[in-house]
Subunit: 120 residues, 2 copies
């Protein structure tokens, strides 16, 4: 089927995503989005990097989240994800100054952890 | 063919793209990237918004550029695009506080202007 030509697709600016708070379904604040990691060749967002942790002044880590996990909630003025702190504690993460290489294995590991369909 | 599993795909953070200078092939500075506009559903970058213009203190406009036009040049510490100021002057643009709706027609118009293959 040919898509309609003038239905706007909903877009968002990267600068509006960065710094946005992220909440669990139970309302707990989990952290905020640090930035988006984008494939240079295709322009596809590989993941949103969630800043989470850093208790008692210890360093924060970044948690790669599949883009599709982020659902914006106008009432909260932030993203709501169907995750708990406990799930995040076992999730793939990296130190802020040590961004991993995005291989197929790495990407699959992240998407599998969250049960998201993997997009290369 | 099955792609190799551990070839890293080259990625970049949105926060590193924002603010990066953009130069023409002749070395002229054309402006800088303001931000990236991303499709909410797919996570695909629709365009990079180039801040260009603002002569003599007049307001700057944003020029949507297809992602594929941006080629990073380490020597220049910025992007080089095969565009001249004259080409940009006739290009699609919008005021910074008046982001357009991203319809298929709008997207095609932008990509066609630059001769880039259009990705929905």
């Amino acid at each position: 089927m040919q898509p309609e030509m003038n239905i706007p697709s909903s877009t968002i600016s990267s600068s509006k995503v960065e710094g946005t708070n992220v909440y669990g379904l139970n309302g707990d604040k989990l952290g905020s989005i640090d930035d988006l990691v984008i494939d240079k060749a295709s322009g596809q967002v590989r993941y949103a990097a969630l800043e989470f942790g850093g208790f008692l002044g210890m360093g924060t880590d970044l948690y790669p989240l599949p883009w599709g996990k982020l659902q914006y909630d106008n009432g909260k003025d932030g993203y709501v994800v169907d995750l708990t702190k406990e799930q995040l504690e076992g999730a793939p993460k990296y130190a802020k100054d040590d961004e991993p290489e995005y291989t197929d294995d790495y990407g699959r590991g992240v998407y599998d952890y969250y049960g998201s369909p993997w997009v290369r």
